[in-house]
């Protein structure tokens, strides 16, 4: 699903150049649930941004489901993001004046889907994350866990090839974190490919594979025995 070869990325900080990614090689198969671990500054967020086409690598190749991702302009990147990728953020990033349903339906708006159809589909995904009754509430009326579920529904609604989650449990307590992870595992069980960036080992253990990143290189890439979140709840 994802093929990355020799990815380099550096940032200019004044006269200095900060080499963040130093040749990443890494493949993700269809249906995998991968955790990317590393301390801050290890380059894991940069890697996720490049995978999410929010940023572009200096060199190296990135192929997503057989499509080479290169020479992106804003419009093209927006198109790919909309069709191929679903984002889940640490701070949820819901639009605060839109209801849960409208937030979930937003990616479909940018696919130019008619309003009625959009709302039906958004409702279906809200139901999947167990928030059907909350569909007409504003984000400010939802708890942190509920907000993240709405965000997950929003990431899923466009039926992307890959879900990218950046510290998705970072703002949640451990009980809520496990509930959210359970949802992620269920989604993965349905065959969706998911990448989770985290620095919490217990969250990483709930994935099927852990990639350790340190100082811009992959130091360890291991398959692990998945810990089901449900057991911990």
């Amino acid at each position: 699903m994802i093929e990355i070869k020799d990815l380099h990325k550096s940032y200019k900080m004044g006269s200095n150049s900060l080499h963040v990614l130093k040749g990443i090689n890494f493949n993700v198969e269809d249906g995998e649930l991968v955790a990317i671990m590393g301390s801050s500054g290890s380059g894991k967020s940069t890697l996720l941004n490049i995978l999410g086409m929010l940023d572009e690598a200096d060199s190296g190749t990135y192929v997503l489901d057989g499509i080479p991702i290169k020479n992106l302009n804003e419009t093209k990147a927006a198109n790919y993001r909309n069709k191929f990728l679903g984002f889940i953020f640490q701070s949820f990033n819901l639009i605060n004046y839109k209801t849960a349903l409208e937030n979930v339906a937003l990616p479909l708006y940018y696919q130019k889907m008619p309003r009625k159809q959009r709302q039906e589909k958004a409702m279906k995904y809200l139901e999947q994350v167990g928030l059907k009754e909350w569909s007409h509430h504003l984000p400010s009326e939802l708890s942190g866990g509920q907000k993240q579920r709405v965000a997950i529904a929003r990431a899923m609604v466009a039926e992307p090839k890959v879900l990218l989650a950046d510290e998705l449990t970072g703002a949640l307590d451990s009980k809520t974190s496990y509930e959210v992870m359970e949802l992620i595992q269920n989604i993965n069980d349905q065959g969706n490919t998911i990448l989770v960036v985290t620095h919490e080992p217990d969250i990483a253990q709930m994935c099927k594979r852990i990639v350790h990143l340190k100082d811009g290189v992959i130091v360890k890439d291991e398959k692990v025995k998945q810990v089901r979140a449900k057991v911990n709840v």
């Binding site: 419009t75 927006a78 909309n82 990033n93 940018y110």
Partner: protein, 414 residues
Amino acid sequence: MFDLERWQEIFDTIRKNKLRTFLTGLSVASGIFILVILLGFGQGMQNGISYEFEEDATTEVEVWPGVTTKGYMGLNPGRRIQLRNENYQTANSLYSKEIEYKSPLVFVNNVSVNYGKEALVYSVRGVSQDYQFIENARLHEGRFLNLKDMTSTGKVAVIGKKIKDDVFLDVETPIGEFINISGVLFKIIGVFDEREEREEERIYIPVTTAQKVFNGADRISNISYTLPKVDNFDQAVAQAVSFKENLRSYLQQAHTVAPDDTSAIQVWSALEEAKRYFSLIGNIKFFFWFVGICTIIAGVVGVSNIMLIVVKERTREIGIRKALGAKPWSIILMILHEAIFVTAISGFAGLIFSMAILEIVGPHVQVDYVVNPSVNFNVALATVFVLILAGTVAGFFPAWRAANIHTIDALRDE
């Protein structure tokens, strides 16, 4: 523009950000409102001043004598000048081509006027048959003086409507009644009305009769003229000025007055006066436009300010939208669409509100020199479009900037 989905998206945003939208709209609507009201009053002043000048024929030129202030050709200063029939006739034949209506004026002073036993305190003037047109007097009933009255020194009088209303209450019409002026009976043949009551308090008798009956000999007090109308205002003023100068120099020669002694022969031209007023109106209108345009500029600055804040406030939202697949142009169009919609609606609201006020209140304005303030609808409409355009331009740059912020940075914005 006609994307229904985007309209819904914008209505959602507006509905959920009422205060912000209201404040933006208010600054636009008040700008338009102030401009329209100012322009309306500018027009009202122009109407008012034109109205004041319609009272007498606008091309009127009047001559009256004074006292010399300079010695000339061996004559002492302080000499009182007296106009005479001869002056009037000579001037008429000299400038016959330039004159439309003409009338000498004899003020009949120190006479008592009686109707029956009632003493009337109204001025009596000897005038010619043309005087009706010079004064723009309308005939209420009967007729005005005519040429036959002049040649036959008829003892007839035309009175103002106010006199009729004040004195002739008991009779159905004053026509045919007699008034006694210093022992001589004059038959009333007509009643005229004027816009100003003051000018209705006059009794007109034939100038020839006035001279003959009241020991006037060939003396006349004033001479009034009107000049033929010319469409072009500047040309009309030029014509009036040249006529005025010619007339003055003839009368100065005839009475041996120094050419630079303006107080001996005074000539007044309504057009010159009008020109001063019209240039005053021009200046006032210019001032109103200036204030109005400054108001609009303030409105535009207000709109762009609010747009800047709106975009700043929505940076994170824009980042989210971009992460979800919004293209830069769709972000720009969304913000612009909203800006245009809000400025247009509030601009038209301000326009309609101010036009309604002018329409309703305007005709009832009872102030000197302000009549029926109103505004040219097209001008007002044009300003609304200018404002919308300005709002668009003002909204575009923040929108453009917002759309080009790196998505990661936009998402990080708090």
